[in-house]
Symmetry: C2
Amino acid sequence: MKGKSPQSTLLLILHSKGNTSVTDTLTKDWKSKLTNGKAVYLFDEGDAKMRDILGGKGANLAEMTRLGFPVPPGFTVTTEVCNVYLNAGNKFPADMQDELKTAMAAIEKKMGKGFGDRKNPLLVSVRSGAKFSMPGMMDTVLNLGLNDETVQGLIEQSGDERFAYDAYRRFIMMFSDVVMGLSKHDFDKLLQKKKKELNITEDSLIPAAALKQLVDEFKAKFKAEANRDFPTDVFEQLSLSVEAVFRSWRNPRAMVYRDKEKIAHDLGTAVNVQSMVFGNMGDDCGTGVAFTRDYNSGAKVPVGDYLTNAQGEDVVAGIRTPKPLEALASEAPEMWKQLLEVSKNLELHFKEMQDMEFTIEKGKLYMLQTRTGKRTAQAAIKIASDMVEEKLISREDAVLRVAPGQLDQLLHPSIPAEAKKAAHAAGRYLAKGTGAAPGAACGKVVFEANDAVEEAAKGHPVILVRPETTPDDAHGMAVAKGILTSTGGPSSHAALVARGWGIPCIVGCEALRIDLDKKKVTVNDQTFGEGEWLTFDGGTGEVYLGHTQLQEASELTAETKLLLGWADEFRKLGVYANADTPKDAERSRAFGATGVGLCRTEHMFMERDRLPIVQEMILSAPKAEALHRQELRAHKELSEQVEGTRRHSDAKAALDEAIARKAGPWKIYTDCLARLLPIQREDFHGILKAMAGHWVIIRLLDPPLHEFLPAHSELLVDVARLRTVRDHAPDSYNKVLEEVRHRREDRNATLESLEEMLHRVESMKEFNPMLGLRVCRLGIVYPEIYKMQVQAIFEAACDLVKAGIDARPEVMIPGVGTVEEMRFTRNLVETVARQVQEKRGIQVKHKIGTMIELPRATVVAGDLAKNADFFSFGTNDLTQTTLGYSRDDAAGTFIPVYLEEKILKNDPFQVIDTVGVGRLMKLAVEEGRAANPQLEVGICGEHGGEPESVAFCHTLGLDYVSCSPFRVPIARLAAAHAALASKAGFKDK
Amino acid sequence: MKGKSPQSTLLLILHSKGNTSVTDTLTKDWKSKLTNGKAVYLFDEGDAKMRDILGGKGANLAEMTRLGFPVPPGFTVTTEVCNVYLNAGNKFPADMQDELKTAMAAIEKKMGKGFGDRKNPLLVSVRSGAKFSMPGMMDTVLNLGLNDETVQGLIEQSGDERFAYDAYRRFIMMFSDVVMGLSKHDFDKLLQKKKKELNITEDSLIPAAALKQLVDEFKAKFKAEANRDFPTDVFEQLSLSVEAVFRSWRNPRAMVYRDKEKIAHDLGTAVNVQSMVFGNMGDDCGTGVAFTRDYNSGAKVPVGDYLTNAQGEDVVAGIRTPKPLEALASEAPEMWKQLLEVSKNLELHFKEMQDMEFTIEKGKLYMLQTRTGKRTAQAAIKIASDMVEEKLISREDAVLRVAPGQLDQLLHPSIPAEAKKAAHAAGRYLAKGTGAAPGAACGKVVFEANDAVEEAAKGHPVILVRPETTPDDAHGMAVAKGILTSTGGPSSHAALVARGWGIPCIVGCEALRIDLDKKKVTVNDQTFGEGEWLTFDGGTGEVYLGHTQLQEASELTAETKLLLGWADEFRKLGVYANADTPKDAERSRAFGATGVGLCRTEHMFMERDRLPIVQEMILSAPKAEALHRQELRAHKELSEQVEGTRRHSDAKAALDEAIARKAGPWKIYTDCLARLLPIQREDFHGILKAMAGHWVIIRLLDPPLHEFLPAHSELLVDVARLRTVRDHAPDSYNKVLEEVRHRREDRNATLESLEEMLHRVESMKEFNPMLGLRVCRLGIVYPEIYKMQVQAIFEAACDLVKAGIDARPEVMIPGVGTVEEMRFTRNLVETVARQVQEKRGIQVKHKIGTMIELPRATVVAGDLAKNADFFSFGTNDLTQTTLGYSRDDAAGTFIPVYLEEKILKNDPFQVIDTVGVGRLMKLAVEEGRAANPQLEVGICGEHGGEPESVAFCHTLGLDYVSCSPFRVPIARLAAAHAALASKAGFKDK
């Protein structure tokens, strides 16, 4: 086999076992199929636009070379050659070797060195470089071109034997690992053994002789593992490396990555071969990574790390602690000056912050790579706005430079990444639940709302840990730094309340086994209890044991406001906020919301001082309204009879009886409503005032009423306990009763009263509350509740208008599915609104509309639109019903599996399901607008603050999106991105 | 004002207070606007086709007259005159009186009597008669034409003073009540007083003199109440009556009735004036009601009631007990002969069974009315098939003559109507729940499943009364005559099981307050307990205290089979049955189903002997499948690594660990499945065998798994009780533990085991199970369960095919919402099916399809159809999600209010919501068939047996409907009706 070309040898050794398909034969004219007929480009032959054939890295190196930056000479083998090679069944065309040689000759000339020259050897690096950055592919091989002969030349060149052998042993190790797929571990073991023999711990202290021995040991190991000698022919080294890069395009991880990222499998990768420069040839050498601006703050000053007398991998590997880049200014002022110059010019050219790799070889600066630098949200904003000021980029560019999702970081406290890492390392990571309300929290564990209040009063931060929460826990929730439940989903009571109040929250953390009796939680084999510190991330759902210093969120910076101002110029979508309190409304205004898209009146009901009234109202409603309905029927019967007839007098008697029966229950019910009226009026007054001049969409009562009642299971247990002690331990009865009374905070509770309450709660219990007596069904079955709410809204608005404040309520009917429901409730709202306005002699600008949150509503949208001034998509519920997924259950059960099995691309409660839910939304928008061209259409589900979903809403042509106050900046930016992406023209909002 | 025309006088007295609108003035040429210029038609001038202007009653009287039947002469004032009158503000044209006089003159001539003639007076009846029968309108006035003078003529004519004064006092009373709107009660009081004075109880015993006094007293009362004298002018009497009829068209009850029945308000009513004949002038007189055939059995023999010497109202009022019609045969053979003749001829003419009113006056038969007769389902079928045999009607007519909904009566036991009436009267009616499984039940109350078994074993019929049922109660449910729960809806456990097993069932009967401890139920102020008799109607939901003799259901009669055979000739829709057991399948075949459209495998899981295995399987599934998934991930990770590298060996180690971790839990899980496999195989074997040659659609496991687990609330109470005695009464601990063990039927239960079970049940508990981990989500998260089921299906089918039996399974994937779910599950089914068939060397005809029961499925139906052989609409679930109504909750909460307020026309779980759900179905059918023209499309929700919904399915062009076995005959007939109605051509099935 000897005398054959190197690649034949290679094929013999490494013949792929994989299923590479041979589709082309290697024809003589293979080059004629290449762009420009070229297989290889010297760096000075290409430019930044040639990413398709040179890959991203190659194109940027070419660009820098073309512009005269100090780039070590090199060449790129194109992506097209990769495809030729792969399609030929991993074979090179016969004359490919010549191409490499020709290109190498050009570099030799530029460098004044010879590839494989034993006196003055040229060494190169080999790197993969596809059009899109691909972590699944081959890493870098450095120092290629070394063998037992050229290493001598390197010694001569550098005058440093230790350096040369170190380079050689590194090359063998990398080549074995990266090109040949041998275990790096095996080589590492030899290295460690050597250090142990020498009794040293630092690689840099290994003497030259030992390194030379190590080279021999490495070569022996290579032979043993690869079953051949380590290649001494430098072109064979090169060929094998280039082929390894090409083959890595099809390794399983790369395939999986491309599938996931939807990158075409036929793009191929390029290979970059670049002459080595050495940062480890002495103290006038060094290597580093530099960003043209501060990636944390965005300040316009290069930052980064560098190491004197080191190779790039030392920086990355973290074996030595690098120095901050600015140390260069004093250590090597000339280099610093050059780097500043390069940095400035690269930015001027690319008009972007750059992430550069550089090496200083004996006082000369080389640029090895440049690419767009990653940065924090804060930096992204500052850089973008600075660059506009510097006239580097336009405002549009600036807006597009900041990813909307990034803004989330700016607005909540967070756990620093290092702290998380440390917690993991220390085994303090406990479990993961559903992140229900963003932000990090740290506090001492409490299990009962009363304990939370008590501890908080002492100034201790507390985390309330419960299996689930109910309105009874609200006072404890209000004072907690964070809320953690073991059950429930993102629209459970805990989640809703926490989001409304801006308290970080994790729900459905099912790994927690909470024993409320013992006030202990078991997680797998760990246990913690009351008073212990807990830290969690309400965004990711991660829970940690112990105390952590959190990173505080900042207000919107001036730059952020500036950038969002530009975004506002470009977006077509309005951005409203979901706000339930005057405080929320004010915060929304500060974040730039120009309306309230969803004011949830139920959150007002849940506040502690109101809850008893609300509960009494709810428990009295069914009977009172049923008796009222009987009275109405009796009225109707009477109206149908001719006066003076017996039928008439019978009907009159029946009516009198119905009126008498109704009186008592009706009084209890309406008294509760009368007590709630001024409270609600005050709520609405505050919000409408805070949003003066802007529309406030107020949703009438929406959730199933039993959400306001005491928890059924707790009642069940209390009753069972009391019955058991009564029957078996009468002496303990009073003691247990006291316990129950204390826990329930009900001094008058008795077994009988609890049994009665249990019965009433059971009679209102529903199997699927999400699909039960809620939304507008409440307003139709219990119209008095809606009437009270509408009265409160219009009384508040009238008061404001009278005081000269432009209050603009929009009344939103939730969960309408039929046009009859819309007509019924619209009529109810109009009647009460008219009565209030007439009584006060004030006209209030207002609208009446509906939430589109049921599939049937989308199907009859045309008819609904004739009876509605606006539609607001409640995409949370619409997703639930369209897909048949309970938001409270799905996240904890099948959605993780669905994501893993790629049944779902995204959690549809996070990102709108455009195919399913989106099609119904489109239908509703089209038929709604066709029936009522004035129809205002928006979205108020949490999707309204998620960038992909915002883009979809833009495509649908909605008027606005509405989201929680903290997501308003995200939505503003996402809306601008969508508008700029669709180039649909700009419109001032 | 005297001397004015009578109608002016009338206007003075009765000027309407209502808002009658005057749109026409009374012009001279008012008659030119009438059809044929005629305001009044003599009976011999009209015919049956003239319902528009003569009304239904008038047209039929004209038709009978025209055909020579013995109808007392008369005339009809047209509906057009009614409109003239009403539009003129309740005024007659001046010459209308002449019209009446002319017509009356014609009658006088025919009868040889004079209207108002003191010697030989003509008396008439006045009746309303609109185009459509309208209960809201004026009743009949009899004996009109009597006054103090003509009554003398009547005495002379009849020779019976008592008769004459009785007729006179009756006339005054009816006129006062019906025409003048005075209180009948006032007159009745005078009558009762008179009888008391005379010390008699029967009206017929009041002597002539007393009746004469009564006439005077009535006239005085009239004057006092109406503030005028009783009119003596017979034409005034007539005018007032005609006007009263006309005005009654606009009384409130008639308006409401027309609104409800969507009858136009401008039709108007006609007035029929007919000469009186008297059945109460002696023993050669009589009156009665006759049906041309037996309305109960359908036998071809006239049936009815008659009274000798009586007027029609006596028959209706039930004061005397009438004799059966056939008594006429012996009592008055000539009359009987004439009646038979009339009966035969009327049927020959109308080609329908007739409901006739007749009077015999002094040996002469008069026909007063004829109309289509109402009949029972059984009679309807017999009459229709007999009439075909008699060549009176075609087969199409016969099929259309029977209302599909009527057939329901034929197939279940029922409570006789009289028994219900009696129960109401006796105060034994208790409450109304949701009728969940049809049929009546009567038995002794038990509260526990074990007690049910014990009592049933003694031969006692039992009704199981529970707040709700769980699988633990299944053994008690199986032996019960009926099941009654106080909570839950039509798809609660109780309802599903009961329907599956054909046991009458009521759920959600919320008026019941069940105290299981005391074994007592309180309903309002009544109480009943264990051992007491209860009777209920599972169709209507009515519950009665006490024992009732039920009417047993009969098998399909020969006539029914014949008629349904004709129906089969006309229908285009196939009719399948929902059958879960071989017995169901056999019954379905007997009822004419040609396939099984839904075989629910979960019902097989719920049987008592299997439940423990099923529970163990479910409790082990989450952990086992999660560990299995970890193993798969480890496998994948390994496959991505290059052999020989360290990464490869690390991945190998991780895989080994994952395999080891999985082993234990996996064994428990798969052992359960292995035990269930032969049981399921046997189930499928039986059903496929029973349906040999026909398709059987088997749905893979569908409900949330916790439905199979012990009830959470019971576990909660048991644990609370045990903890309480442990802490407060340790001496009682063992006693309570024994009680708990006994009730749970678990000899090994301990507090610890129950706590563990409680935790596991809680961890599987869902907030909205209907939208949770169920349907195909189960098969994706726990694929082993589906694999076991598919294996069982195909093993059973292979065994049958091998034995020469044509087994044809269709595997149905429930709850698919995305094409990815369809692909995943289809692949699973195909893989297992192939393995089984290959192993057995047998090919099984089969299909794989999906249930369309989520809005999203309808939206992506085109894509689904490319991966499915069939669609089956699960309209129960599709209704739940499209409307956002929980079937279990809605019926007990807002649907009754919605029906009352006319928000809904029908309960959408009974009748398909064609506007909403129907539009989505249409979309799915169209896009599904477009993508896959071979697609088979059916429906398997309970709507498949509801006539209106079947008609809609016909319109959609579905291939078949499937419903519970007992509804198969209904569906066959409804499908024929739909096909005949749409005249879409006939097709043999």
